[in-house]
């Protein structure tokens, strides 16, 4: 970068600043609105910047609307989904990565293709299935449903990480008498730990952001997830936007923090293998 040619850099920074403003504007609108008073948030036309700050909306959604419960429900369902899909997924990922066997390609294709199915195809039959099994309107049913979405990509992502570990480590271990399971536990797991954590966080966030499954499989208000609770706030007759925005701030914070921490792994999920070339 030479001093003589500043023009392009000014253009670059100006373009990036415009991008930042575009990306941040809805977030700022959400944040500032959540701190407005009832009077101000219903003012016409709306104030662009709040005149006075109050945390009333946050107090209300936690004290009156039960958002602490929704928050915990979401955390429980998403956490269980992440653990379940990673636990089942790691074995399949290892199998796909380390073995040649009949039906391997077909199975991999099935795992990949299943990621393309629309949720609305599955949710109706799922509703019937869970009703028959007595799992309708339970967190367990919702966790299983979320796992049907997260499992295929979990397997795929973990396989990508295991592929990067040299087979020689395991061969050495097996000569020393280690079993396959021991190889997985002692040779693979420690080496892919960051990838495993990233995969689990993605599964967690996928379940966290879901609306469709919770909407169709949960009716008990006490079992509602975060996204469902927020949506139902708006379904009411009069929308108090400061409350809704306070709830969305809380719903957004966890994913935003996790994603930013995991930036490095973001692309890996569904497109990683192609990008790696």
């Amino acid at each position: 970068m030479t001093r003589t040619n500043l023009g392009p850099w000014i253009v670059t920074y100006a373009a990036l600043a415009a991008m930042a403003a575009y990306n941040l504007a809805p977030f700022l609108w959400m944040l500032t609105s959540s701190f407005k008073t009832d009077m101000e948030v219903t003012q016409i036309p709306a104030t662009i910047l709040p005149h006075s700050f109050t945390a009333d909306a946050y107090v209300r959604i936690f004290a009156q609307e039960g958002f602490l419960k929704y928050f915990l429900n979401s955390a429980k369902v998403s956490g269980a989904t992440a653990i379940l899909s990673a636990t089942v997924g790691i074995f399949a990922a290892y199998g796909f990565s380390r073995f040649e066997f009949r039906g391997r390609t077909v199975l991999i294709a099935a795992f990949l293709a299943s990621q393309m199915l629309p949720g609305v195809l599955l949710v109706g039959p799922y509703f019937r299935l869970l009703s028959t099994a007595g799992l309708y309107d339970t967190h367990l049913g919702l966790i299983l449903a979320q796992t049907s979405i997260t499992l295929p990509f979990t397997v795929w992502m973990l396989k990508g990480y295991i592929d990067t570990i040299p087979v020689e480590i395991e061969q050495a271990a097996m000569i020393d008498g280690a079993s396959r399971l021991q190889c997985l536990w002692y040779c693979i797991l420690p080496n892919i730990l960051p990838g495993l954590v990233a995969t689990m966080v993605f599964a967690f966030l996928l379940a966290w952001g879901d609306l469709l499954w919770a909407l169709c499989l949960i009716t008990d208000p006490d079992k509602q997830t975060m996204t469902l609770g927020i949506t139902n706030l708006v379904g009411q007759f009069r929308v108090l936007w400061s409350d809704v925005m306070a709830a969305t701030v809380i719903g957004c914070t966890i994913p935003a923090c996790f994603y930013l921490l995991l930036q490095r792994y973001l692309v890996q999920g569904s497109a990683g293998s192609a990008v790696k070339g």
């Binding site: 920074y13 990306n23 709306a46 399949a92 629309p118 609305v120 499992l151 295929p152 497109a271």
Partner: protein, 285 residues
């Protein structure tokens, strides 16, 4: 590694069985239901599929979906490519812009929908506030109450929320372009545009196909964003196929019809995903 004939199956079995039970089974049930065989046996009856051709609401919904996906994916690629090229430059402060660039995508789609519903709200929305306060408009306008403007608003919202992922894939692709090719182009005296067309684009081909295919699949089956923002309205002006299936199944209890739409949607998505599936599977051998 040879000599282990059954071992791989033990590893793969739990996930494969789970896939069959929680994914394969519902998918097959949906197909059966679409043929009028939900909960009973007998002869398949495909009349629900015939209804697709005569139902004007299905036609309008399919058109909405095509317009929505077409515009959104195009904008994602254009904006995503522009930002990826900028973020690929070495410069001070790049990490900060990268962080900001990803933010919209971290937002759960239904939350994005609700925020934009508020932004386009008639009385207390941000868009009207800006237009009224700058004097560009005399009366508040009901953006989400107008069929065309509401579709436009929903498209704007999803363009905003979804482009960072396309950008990230393209950025990863850009970073994989071999440097010596750029150096060779520079030696040959190629300008910026020439370099982009002859070096960057051909190298990005695979990555671009993957980004576009995945984005098409995601935007086509999008549910939460539209449910939160307009619920498909006004009328069915912003309704997409996912929402149409949901409403038919869970609100009108037209389960056979809903399943037939869902099966068609699934078939279209699988067909659209073929280039991605083929590319990815080829790399497995």
């Amino acid at each position: 590694m040879r000599g282990e004939t059954t071992t791989p199956y033990w590893f793969v079995a739990p996930a494969a069985i789970m896939l069959v039970v929680i994914l394969g089974f519902p998918a097959v049930t949906a197909i059966l239901e679409s043929a009028g065989l939900g909960g009973k046996t007998g002869f398949p009856d495909f009349r629900a599929y015939g209804r697709l051709f005569t139902d004007p609401q299905f036609g309008a919904t399919a058109l909405n979906t095509v317009i929505f996906v077409g515009v959104v994916v195009t904008m994602h690629v254009v904006i995503g490519m522009a930002i990826a090229l900028l973020l690929n430059l070495e410069m001070p402060g790049r990490w900060l812009f990268r962080v900001i660039a990803i933010l919209p995508w971290t937002m759960p789609d239904v939350i994005g929908g609700l925020i934009f519903r508020f932004i386009f709200d008639t009385l207390s929305g941000g868009v009207n506030a800006v237009l009224l306060r700058t004097g560009l408009m005399a009366q508040p306008y009901d953006w989400l109450g107008h069929p065309h403007w509401s579709l436009f608003a929903v498209i704007m919202a999803e363009v905003w929320r979804g482009y960072p992922y396309v950008m990230l894939i393209l950025l990863a692709g850009l970073q994989a372009v071999p440097r010596d090719q750029y150096e060779a182009a520079a030696i040959d005296g190629a300008g910026r545009i020439r370099t982009f067309v002859s070096i960057t684009l051909p190298n990005l081909r695979t990555v671009l196909i993957i980004a576009v295919v995945l984005d098409i699949v995601w935007e086509t089956r999008l549910f939460g964003m539209i449910y939160g923002m307009t619920g498909g309205g006004p009328g069915y002006a912003t309704q997409n196929l996912s929402l149409f299936v949901y409403k038919n199944y869970f609100q009108f209890f037209e389960t056979t019809y809903a399943s037939s739409i869902a099966v068609v949607l699934a078939a279209v998505l699988l067909a659209a995903a073929m280039p991605y599936l083929r590319l990815t599977l080829r790399r497995q051998d």
